[in-house]
Every structure is written in C-alpha cells, then in structure tokens.
C-alpha cells in the first residue's frame, strides 16, 4: 500500500478489480461506510467503469476515476456517513507484533486511540486527503477524486499531517 499506480493502461478488468477492490473498500470503510455499503459502492464503481469503457470512454487515470466514483457513492450516503464519524474506535486486537509485552500493547492501543481522535478532529477534506494519500494516490489523483486543485491537495495534506503529528505528540 502506498506505491505509485502499477496498473497498465488499458488494464484488463480482472486486474483492475484485483488491484483496487481492497484499497477502495478500505478507503470507504475508513470514511465510515458499513462493510456491505462499501462493497456495494465498489461494485457500483466497477460497473460504471465497464459502461464507461463500453461507451468508448478513456481509461487514462483509471485509478482516480474509480476512487472518484466510489467516493461520490459514499457522499450520497452522507447522512449515515456523518453519524458514524463520531463513533470512537475500539480496537479489537492488539496492534503490536506477536510476542510484544502487555505494556507495549497498551501503549500501542493508546497511540492508535489518540490517532483515531486526531483523525476525527480533521475536516472532511483533510481526512479524505490523508486517507487517499494513505492508499498511495498522488496529489494529482487525489485532486481528481475530490474535485480540487493539486495545489489545494498539497496544502491540505501538509496541514493535516502537521495536525496529526502535533496531536499524537510524535
């Protein structure tokens, strides 16, 4: 996760699906969608891509295209999406590597709890930029997904990461 796009253009549909299904679903889940909703949105995005290609549409920037469609689908469910942003993160499993002592595990839990609170304190656009950056999208791609200028993405990412670093005492 986090590498530049490695998908050839044009890419066979099965390769696109294999490469992008999980990152797209993960991004949507981090936005607050339920698992079924996230899967529905991903399926819908690939269905639209199929129609887009069948209609002679360009397959340039296919990764940002798919993320944009999925992102817009999440926006359409914004009422439920907004209500879930405030839910605190309860980590079900230890984050430390196997064999870590309990004190380390507790520190990790606390560290990620602070990060979760810091993420929720970001604005919607800041959080979306950070999450898309975490999925390996370039600033230009993030701008295409969110419909904002690349320079705005750079400023937003810079501001968001500084906030996170400050709040997490890194």
């Amino acid at each position: 996760m986090g590498d530049a796009c490695s998908i050839p253009i044009p890419a066979p549909p099965e390769l696109l699906f294999a490469e992008l299904r999980t990152p797209m679903a993960r991004y949507l889940r981090c936005l607050g969608l339920a698992p079924a909703e996230a899967e529905d949105a991903v399926q819908e995005a690939f269905l639209k891509l199929h129609r887009h290609v069948a209609a002679g549409g360009s397959q340039e920037n296919v990764r940002s295209w798919l993320f944009r469609v999925a992102h817009n689908e999440a926006r359409n469910r914004s009422a439920r999406y907004e209500s879930r942003k405030s839910a605190p993160l309860e980590l079900a499993a230890p984050l430390a590597a196997a064999g870590a002592d309990p004190e380390r595990q507790m520190l990790d839990r606390e560290r990620y709890r602070r990060l979760d609170a810091a993420m929720k304190a970001l604005s919607g656009t800041e959080r979306e930029c950070v999450l898309l950056r975490g999925e390996g999208l370039r600033y230009r791609e993030i701008g295409e997904v969110l419909g904002i200028a690349t320079s705005t993405v750079a400023d937003t990412v810079d501001r968001a990461i500084r906030k996170l670093a400050e709040k997490c005492n890194v």
Binding site: L89, A92, L115, M119
Partner: protein, 186 residues
C-alpha cells in the same frame, strides 16, 4: 523556528527535481527540519497502519441499526397485537401481598364493547325415569299408577344435589297414556 515549507510534499515525492534538491539540502543541515521530517514520516506510517485496523474496528452500525430497527418494530407490533387480543383479566397479575395491578397496556388500549347476550331458559326434560313398580293404591281415582325413580339432576340445577340421588314418584296415567298425576314421595 525554521519555516521551511513543502517538507511533506518532498517526503511524498511531489516536488519537481529542482525543488526536491533544495529541500533535501536544507533538511540535511537543519536539525529542526530533520526532526519534523522524522515526525511526519512516523505519523504517515501510523496512518497506514490505522487504515488497516480501523475498518475492522468500526462496527457495521447501519446493519446493526437496521436489524435493531426491525427488531424494535416487531416488538412494538407484537405488543400491540397482544394487547388487542389478550383478555383483560389475563393481563392482571397478582403480586404476593400487593393489590392487583392493572396492566398498563390495558389502561391505554380501550376494551372492546361487550354485547349483552340474551338469556334463553333451558327447557328441562325428565329423562331416564325408571319404572320401579306398579302401585296398588286407592289414593288415585282411576287408571294405572306406577312408581318411578327419577334421577335428581333431571329435576334440579347441575350440582344442586349430589350425583346418584334419585327421587321416587308415583305416576298416575290417564287412559290415553299421558301422565295424569305425579306425586313425589318423601
């Protein structure tokens, strides 16, 4: 405090070659920026780890709410149906040592109107009168007289007399066979 910008964009490889070279040379020579770059890199790694963990930790609230809503609606519907069809006296529960507490649901739901049923008297027929013996008596003016044993429950309301009790009576018959007189014996 150093005001160097574009540190994060430099970390992300988003700067062109000239800008990236300039930032790299500054970071190497600036302790503050070296520390800030370390912090930005660490929190970026934490965010990536967070994205692997957070989706599993976030509950499927819509699903839960959906089924919670369905369960709540079913519970409300069941309560309404029970209160409509359950008879009032079945809903009062006597708690030991306390007065009968009326069911609050019954207080809310109006009782169905009670329709007065007409009382139809039952026609009693004497059945199973068993002839006991002919009566040789001068008390009766004419015609045959027979003594019969009549089950008491044929003459009285159910449960008024113990079961098995019989009433003896003399039955005087008219010439046409109808009962002319019936004398119950003490």
């Amino acid at each position: 405090m150093c005001e160097q910008k574009n540190l994060i964009a430099w970390l992300d490889g988003e700067l062109d070659t000239a800008e990236a070279d300039a930032v790299r040379e500054h970071v190497v020579s600036c302790g503050q920026c070296t520390e800030r770059v370390r912090a930005f890199r660490e929190v970026s790694q934490d965010v990536q780890a967070y994205m692997l963990v957070a989706p599993a930790a976030i509950p499927a609230q819509r699903t839960r709410l959906k089924w919670a809503g369905v369960a709540a609606a079913a519970a409300i519907a069941a309560t309404i149906l029970v209160s409509i069809f359950l008879r009032p006296h079945d809903q009062e529960h006597k708690i030991a040592g306390q007065q009968i507490v009326p069911n609050p649901v019954r207080e809310v739901m109006p009782e169905p109107p009670r329709v007065a049923q007409p009382v139809v008297p039952r026609k009693r027929r004497i059945r199973h009168a068993v002839p006991v013996a002919p009566v040789q008596s001068t008390e009766y003016s004419e015609g045959p007289v027979i003594r019969v044993a009549i089950p008491a429950d044929q003459l009285f309301a159910p449960g008024a007399v113990p079961a098995g009790v019989e009433i003896f009576a003399d039955m005087a018959l008219a010439p046409d066979g109808s009962i002319r007189e019936l004398r119950v014996l003490p």
